[in-house]
Amino acid sequence: MITKRIIPCLDVRNGRVVKGVNFKGVADVASPVELAEYYSAAGADELVFYDITASAEGRKLFTDVLRETAERVFIPLTVGGGINTVEDFGRVLKCGADKVSVNSGAIRDPSLIGAAATKYGSQCVVLSADVARVDGEFRVFAKGGREDTGMEAIGWIRRAVENGAGEVVVNSIDTDGVKQGFDLDLLAHVTYYVKVPVIASGGAGSISDFISLFRTLPGVDAGLAASVFHFGEIAIRELKQAMAAAGIPARL
C-alpha cells in the first residue's frame, strides 16, 4: 500500500531558505542543507527546493546548495524556480535533483514539458500550478502568483499532463498562508481529471488539515507545506503518527 507523502518546501534565495506569506515578505530561516538533513531525519518523504533567486550569482549558489544536499540527503529532491528550457532541466538534474518542477517557464513555452519529458522521462517532469479564483473560475497565475494569465486552470493542468508532466503540484493562492486548511474544492477538481500523482499545496495550518486532506480526497498523493514546518508549528514525526493513527498509510 503506497504511503501518502509529506513534503516540506524550501524557498531558496542566494543560497538561504526563505518563506513568504501569500508570496509577499520573506524571512531568513536557515541553511538549506542543514534544514534538508533535519527534515530527512524527521521523516520527510521528499523535499522541494524552490529557487527564487533572480541573479546568475544566486543561481550558482543554488546549484552548490543542491549538490551539497544531494550528497548528504537520500530522499527524493524536487527542484523548481527559474526552469525555462530543457537545458535548465539538465543543469539541476546533474546536481542531484530527481524531479524538476516548471511553472512560468511552461506558461511561456507550452512545448517545454513535452520536450523535457521526451529527453528525461515523465517521472522527472512536475507541473507546478499557482491557482486562484477569478470571476468564478480557477485561473493559472504566473511569476510567483503575481500575474493572472487569464488561462483556466483545470484545462491547463490537464493539457500539461497530456504533454508529459508526470506529477502536478497544485498551489492555491487563495488558501496559501491563511493556515485554515488546503483548498479541497480546487483539489477535488484536479484529482477528478488528472491520473498522475497530485501534490496539494497552500493552506496547511495544523495536523488536522493534512488528515482531512487525505481523508476527503483519496486521489491526493502528497501534502506540501513550508512555514508550518520551518517554524515548528507542525512536527513531521507527530504528523506522520497522527496520519497512521487515522488510518492513512504513512511512512513512520
Partner: protein
C-alpha cells in the same frame, strides 16, 4: 571497490553520493577492464528498457557483464538495471535482457487484479514484504518503506523473489539468484533503509558469497512456491 556501469542511461549523482556516504569507494565506468577488476558491480538505469538494452549491446557491455556475473562477483541491478537482468521485456515492443535471472518484464497494469483507479507510474514510498532471507536485507525489517518509480514489473521470477510490495497487485520488489541481486526500488533514494541495503551489498565479495561464509547466505532457507499473501489495504509501514 564497486564499479557502477556507465552506459549512458540515467543520472548517477545520487547513487555515487550514497556509496560515498557509506564509505564505499566507487567508480563510474564503461571500461570492461575496470569492470572486470572491480570487487562488485552495480547496474543502474532510468528510462526505457529497449534503449538501455541497445546501449549495453552497442557498447559491447552485455557479454562483459554476463561473464562477470558468471564468475560469481556480487552484481546488483537497480530499477531499470534490475529489469535488464531478466530474459525479456515488453516495454515498447519485445526486447532481450541479460538473462541472468529467469523472468519477464511486463506493464504493471497488465497484471491480473490491477486496480484501474491507481496511478502509473508506481511512484512513492511503499513497504517491503520480505519473502525469504537475503544478505541484502540483513539490516532491513519486514514493512520498512522504500522509494519506487516504475511502470513495468518483473513476473515469472520463480523463487528468485526476495521482497514484494503491494500496489493492488503484487509487485516484485527485489530478486536474487546466487551472486546476482536486483532492486526494483531505488536504495539510493530510500533514506536510511536504502543506505543499509547498499552497505550490505558492499560487504559482499565473490569469496564470501561462493564459500558461503556470508552469515545470512549460509543460513538461508529457501522457500518454494508462491510468495506469501500480502496484507490488504490500510497497512502502515
Amino acid at each position: 571497490m564497486t564499479a557502477i556501469v556507465d552506459y549512458g542511461a540515467g543520472n548517477l549523482f545520487s547513487l555515487v553520493s550514497s556509496l560515498s556516504f557509506i564509505g564505499e569507494a566507487a567508480v563510474v565506468t564503461g571500461d570492461p577492464d575496470i569492470l572486470r577488476a572491480a570487487d562488485r558491480i552495480i547496474l543502474p538505469g532510468v528510462g526505457a528498457f529497449g534503449e538501455a538494452a541497445d546501449l549495453l549491446r552497442e557498447r559491447g557491455l552485455s557479454p562483459v557483464l554476463k561473464q562477470i556475473a558468471a564468475e560469481g562477483k556480487p552484481f546488483l541491478g537497480i530499477c531499470l538495471g534490475m529489469q535488464l537482468l531478466f530474459d525479456e521485456s515488453e516495454e515498447f515492443g519485445r526486447h532481450e535482457g541479460l538473462s541472468l535471472i529467469p523472468g519477464r518484464v511486463v506493464p504493471i497494469e497488465s497484471l491480473p487484479g490491477w486496480d484501474k483507479t491507481l496511478k502509473i507510474p508506481h511512484i512513492g514510498w511503499n513497504p517491503l514484504t520480505l519473502t525469504r532471507p537475503s544478505p541484502l536485507f540483513r539490516e532491513v525489517n519486514d514493512g520498512d518503506c522504500v522509494y519506487f518509480v516504475h511502470s513495468y514489473c518483473a513476473v515469472d521470477c520463480g523463487e528468485s523473489v526476495t521482497a514484494a510490495a503491494e500496489y493492488s497487485v503484487t509487485v516484485t520488489a527485489a530478486v536474487e539468484r546466487g551472486n546476482v541481486f536486483g532492486c526494483q526500488f531505488h536504495p539510493e533514494k530510500s533514506g536510511n533503509v536504502g543506505l543499509r541495503i547498499l552497505r550490505a551489498f558492499c560487504g559482499l565479495t565473490a569469496e564470501n558469497l561462493n564459500t558461503g561464509t556470508d552469515p545470512v547466505f549460509k543460513n538461508r532457507v529457501l522457500k518454494s512456491g508462491p510468495a506469501p499473501a500480502l496484507n490488504g489495504g490500510g497497512g502502515q509501514c
